[in-house]
């Protein structure tokens, strides 16, 4: 479908008439009816989704493969557990499916008590062993400090990158081929390109750290193009978005977790980490003019899990309690080792695009050229169809 561009420039005042996305996203476009591009894109995307029977068939195939891979091993897959809804629900599903997952919790020094309590309850009730990947806090702090100094939008890259790196590393260590992830399109399909950055761009990460970091990074689990190629092509490790293969309804999932696992709701999306809460609820809106709730709520509208009115009402509320924001700010500053003046300066420093620090684009292009050439050769000599 072709999208008519609105005659009006996108301003934050213009709100999509179907979702709650608005002009605070510089890339948003509206059609003549004031409907944003995301709504149209989602309709096109939704049309490609498999129906219930096809999803079930895919799930059955996947579970059979996971069980087969786990034969004779102490575990059959890896699950990263943060204590939030998505990963907690995946863990619950794994029990229903009779899987034997290696449950990995990633400790980057920002856990809050609720997350820790949820993890404890889940492991206790489901009788799963817990494995914790403890980040070296000194190195991780140095990397987070570098992202603050770089003044780029996605200060969560270090966490997201290293979680994935840790999961692949552990899958390889235990010789497992499947990572079950909580990523899903029902709640996480929509994210404006300028509101976050490519999580696996190790070139960008290293360059930001080289420019602003102070300590060598030796212990963090990197996951750039080559590491991923190694894990995925050589070791055959796949990350599977299992929530896309079931009916994932966030509100229902929460109810179930509360009922079955004594799970405690912590409020906003990804607020299980104090850092994420402060980043999404304070830094993004104040420094970057980004309120991620608009994308999260719009996503729920698109997948039929919230109404637009509910979303608009929710957006009237502050991102979170103002007094708590101030407490979090003091804590984040202290933990990262910034003085008050330094931190205030970082919060008003001009924002920069990630790309100015370099990207892994060339690596990726080279990688795909090699893959393409290798494929051609194999086809020529008849080893591959």
């Amino acid at each position: 479908m072709t999208l008519a561009t609105s005659p009006l420039p996108a301003t934050s005042a213009q709100v999509c008439t179907r979702t709650v996305m608005d002009g605070s996203d510089p890339d948003i476009r509206f059609d003549a009816d004031g409907v944003c591009n995301y709504w149209h894109e989602y309709q096109a995307f939704a049309a490609t989704l498999p129906d219930a029977a096809a999803k079930q068939a895919r799930l059955d195939t996947l579970l059979a493969a996971v069980r087969a891979d786990g034969k004779g091993k102490p575990y059959d897959c890896v699950i990263g557990l943060s204590g939030g809804v998505d990963s907690s629900y995946v863990t619950w599903l794994a029990k229903q499916w009779d899987l034997r997952p290696l449950i990995v919790h990633f400790d980057n020094g920002w856990n809050n008590e609720l997350a820790v309590r949820n993890i404890e309850n889940i492991c206790k009730k489901l009788d799963f062993e817990l494995h914790t990947f403890v980040m070296d806090w000194d190195e991780f702090r140095d990397l987070q400090r570098a992202y603050f100094k770089a003044s780029v939008v996605d200060i969560e890259v270090p966490t997201d990158h290293m979680i994935s790196g840790a999961l692949y590393r552990l899958a390889a260590k235990y010789n497992l081929k499947y990572i079950l992830s909580g990523l899903n399109h029902a709640t996480e399909w929509l994210m404006p390109p300028s509101w976050n950055y490519a999580k696996f761009d190790l070139v960008n990460l290293k360059s930001i750290h080289r420019t602003f970091g102070e300590k060598p990074l030796r212990k963090l689990p990197a996951l750039g193009v080559w590491q991923r190629a190694w894990y995925q092509l050589v070791r055959g490790i796949h990350s599977e978005a299992v929530l896309d293969l079931v009916d994932f309804d966030k509100a229902k999932a929460k109810e179930l977790l509360i009922r079955e696992l004594d799970w405690v709701d912590y409020g906003g999306k990804h607020y299980e980490s104090l850092f994420t809460r402060f980043y999404q609820g304070y830094i993004l809106p104040r420094k970057f003019g980004v309120d991620k709730r608009k994308a999260h709520l719009s996503n729920l509208i698109l997948s039929g899990q919230a109404t637009r009115d509910e979303a608009l009402r929710e957006l009237q509320q502050p991102t979170y309690d103002a007094a708590m924001q101030e407490r979090d700010k003091a804590y984040v500053r202290k933990k990262l080792g910034f003085s008050e003046a330094e931190f205030e300066e970082l919060l008003v420093r001009p924002n920069q695009r990630h790309e100015i620090y370099g990207t892994d684009q060339k690596q990726r292009e080279f990688y795909f050229r090699v893959i393409g050439t290798a494929g051609k050769i194999l086809r020529t000599v008849g080893l591959k169809r």
């Binding site: 020094g109 404890e120 403890v134």
Partner: protein
């Protein structure tokens, strides 16, 4: 209903990194102490003990900056031990917000330090930790400097001497059981508790809530302390801060003390 203190012990190394030892030997890095204390604080624990296990061996004083950052997260009584060599050191620690100092190596080198701190701040503010191990032949002895230096003193005699010097509390810390999840060393806890009139804290080996009751009821301890139990999900499992909730403590510990 009688309540007793159930105390998480956190150990930090020379770089103020949170570590957990087994038998005072092999160390595992388990994260950032600031966040750990913050979580314990939210869980409303009775009291926390923070021990710098490298200070005496390194021959240096407490890392005041790091301790200050950690103590700031605790709105609960907190004790600190490691490298305290003078009344001034203790004064600085109290100024940071600590309720109690824990002496060990220096208390044996100079019992007068215990007296001096007790005289100035009260004996409730000074505890003495008695890390002890089994001797090759016969009995046990207190081993200071993170278990590296023999004192030649048995725990009971040492406890009596420290109580006489003015200590307000004795921590009976079994090195052999540290990090092993085998339960407290009840005979030694009982012997020390019977020998002194001041509170005795049992430490080293707790594997679960069920180990606490015998230490109090049969061992005569007034409080129990543990570390692995509160920083690991279970033996051989991942790092996860935990603490029994009030109902658990009430039903499985306090209520039984009355019975």
């Amino acid at each position: 209903m009688r309540r007793i203190r159930v105390i998480p012990v956190l150990t930090i190394d020379r770089d103020a990194r949170l570590v957990k030892t087994v038998g005072f030997g092999k160390r595992t890095y388990i994260g950032d102490p600031i966040n750990a204390v913050r979580i314990f604080n939210t869980k409303m624990v009775d009291e926390i003990l923070l021990l710098d296990i490298d200070a005496s061996t390194d021959g240096r004083g407490p890392n005041f900056d790091a301790i200050g950052d950690i103590v700031e997260e605790a709105f609960l009584p907190m004790g600190y031990g490691g490298g305290i060599r003078s009344v001034d050191d203790a004064a600085r620690l109290f100024a940071l917000g600590l309720e109690k100092v824990v002496l060990s190596t220096e208390a044996f080198a100079d019992p007068g330090l215990v007296t001096a701190i007790a005289d100035r701040f009260g004996s409730q503010a000074v505890a003495v930790s008695l890390p002890y191990g089994r001797k090759l032949i016969g009995g046990e002895q207190v081993l200071t400097r993170s278990g590296k230096q023999r004192t030649g003193q048995a725990p009971v005699a040492a406890a009596q001497a420290m109580a006489a010097a003015g200590a307000g509390e004795i921590i009976v810390y079994s090195i052999d059981r540290d990090g092993k999840w085998t339960g407290f060393d009840l005979p030694t806890v009982s012997a020390v508790a019977a020998a002194v009139a001041i509170p005795v804290v049992a430490c080293g080996g707790a594997a679960g809530l069920d180990d606490f009751l015998p230490a109090i009821r049969d061992g005569g301890a007034s409080a129990v302390a543990a570390s692995s139990l509160f920083v690991y999900r279970a033996p051989k499992q991942g790092v996860l801060i935990s603490y029994p909730d009030e109902a658990d403590l009430r039903d499985r510990l306090f209520a039984k003390l009355d019975a």
